[in-house]
Symmetry: C2
Subunit: 396 residues, 2 copies
Amino acid sequence: MIADKMADLVKNSSAIRAMFEEGKKLAEQYGAENVYDFSLGNPNVPAPAEVKEAIIQELEKEDPVVLHGYMSNSGYEEVRKAVAESLNERFQTSFHEENIVMTVGAAGGLNVILKTLLNPGDEVLVIAPYFGEYNSYVANYEGKVVVVSPDTETFQPNLKEMGEKITARTKAVIVNSPNNPTGVIYSEETIERMAALLRKKQEEFGTDIYLISDEPYRELAYDGAEVPYLTKYYENTLVGYSFSKSLSLPGERIGYLVIPDEAADAAEIQAGANVATRILGFVNAPSLMQKAVAKCLGAKADVPYYDRNREAIYEGLKSLGFSCIKPQGAFYLFVKSPVEDEKLFCEAAKKHRILLVPGSSFACPGYIRIAYCVAYETIQNAMPGFRALAEEFKLI
Amino acid sequence: MIADKMADLVKNSSAIRAMFEEGKKLAEQYGAENVYDFSLGNPNVPAPAEVKEAIIQELEKEDPVVLHGYMSNSGYEEVRKAVAESLNERFQTSFHEENIVMTVGAAGGLNVILKTLLNPGDEVLVIAPYFGEYNSYVANYEGKVVVVSPDTETFQPNLKEMGEKITARTKAVIVNSPNNPTGVIYSEETIERMAALLRKKQEEFGTDIYLISDEPYRELAYDGAEVPYLTKYYENTLVGYSFSKSLSLPGERIGYLVIPDEAADAAEIQAGANVATRILGFVNAPSLMQKAVAKCLGAKADVPYYDRNREAIYEGLKSLGFSCIKPQGAFYLFVKSPVEDEKLFCEAAKKHRILLVPGSSFACPGYIRIAYCVAYETIQNAMPGFRALAEEFKLI
């Protein structure tokens, strides 16, 4: 028998697996080009050419014993230094290599930091709608997820409720902006108010509350929108970054943590993250890819491609009577379901070979998530299906 | 404050860190070429040329969206199939792709399988001397490590004591052959007797006991020694493999688990490992490296180089009166300390700029480990120091 907790997880994850299987079956039945899969956040835009060049350059010039070898569990010193300097240049911060821990993507980074911080029973606030995997990451270390319910007007964090839910056991708050699943960017005003609230609560309880900023979508911002760099607003900020979306490298598992000197117990957290990286079995972030991304810190995937998709899907659905907030970043659109039980809508969409994710997966039922990191043609070709759904659900 | 458990781990890991720092200081003082660092299992032999060729080939021909993209959490289907077929050819097994889960090295694989299997309090047997990281891997999932004490005659597992220590709570036994730190290969006779013992105990307690074979050193075997493939001897065997040593890719974090159909609850374990890979934050093994190793399954690092080192260090130390078993595999030599407290010997060795790891780190005090994955010249140049130590400790 497998572990009890794992048996539950396997059972619950079978819904998503069932969707995959259904997608595959639909593709076999109707042809892949006639199935409109908006369910996955897998970038469809290729990695920029710099990545391939950087990998080949490293293979040609670096000693393979170094290039593929062990290094400090936190990563190559020169890679960490390059990341720190790039951040300093972009955000006027003053990080150095000790503040950077290279990680196996942002998911790896979040696990490392939660392993480092959490005692059993410690509370971690998450702000709905949120990436459902946070539940597992926190549970891995016997932490307790406390959900702040969504503000469905703006999808900015509900700070009033956040204040009410912070207790003496609150160890961390996870924020994700640009947000999965809404595409909303938390405004500077929001960040400033959140920082003030957290400081007040720290004082009230005599604790340290860490703000963990999960930032895989930082580079995907549209219309010139600014994404505030949170360490500048709140001392106890820890950043989890990933190159998965910015460089279209999700399969390579490469990202980093930022642990600023200003954070309480920074040296212990840095040392703990180094140990956690090792004992969780990551050991270190993939070595060749560390050196490759260090050469591509100024590069970006084709964001204008996603922007065109964003306009097409947003304007398309709006004209059909669907209701949603225009995303400022990431590559998701969070649409109000025309029926309260959004799973019924997802089922109906499947009949038009359109695959969507119900908002309940993000602790926000009544909504559906559309991942528009797909071919532009997929959006165009799905529109007749969306029109039929709009008619079926009496939006037009 | 960081987590209590992590604070302890940081404190305990500082001994190893101190050694690193001391090594660095010695290198500054005397020059790196005059410091003989035998402390690390970091291969000094470069990856075979096939690896570089395979990576460049993939970069040239594969669609980057696929090459660097997400796939099933267990890995690319064609990679898993290639691994299964290669094993079948080499070991006359009959695996298929569902039996293979690509992992972030063997350390990642062990974490995935322990997360999948362990309920809190479940017992995991380890056989001293053993890789100290197993303690952390088991503790990550609230398992309890039960140590079988070493048989210092042969360094084969002490099966009598193993039989006594198996209880109704024993969920798994971890074995590692070729062994770190002894270089011993568990013989076919040992394996057959161990399999019989485990079957008997399963029957006695009405449980399933998984034999987890940690095999990063499988390909490093000398004098034509055979390393038995354990799934052929015991149904409930799960294998954790790594390309870290066989292809000299430790920094790339690439390996795989084998979960045979014959294992009890195989389908649940396969599904659980897929979920565990995701929620522990690995998400998947690095994608480009998956495809590269699939093209290099027949390749091997320069094993004769290690073999020459093995002869040099073994014969050299033996002629100086040191006592040790001749390693049949891996790249470690486990030497009896001339004083009971081997840490004193390690301290004395440092004065000759020789860095060693005390056996206590492997639950086997009174011995020291020498990692001979170093330049041949390092061994030659360290010999005068070893001679001085032999004289100091009255071996000659």
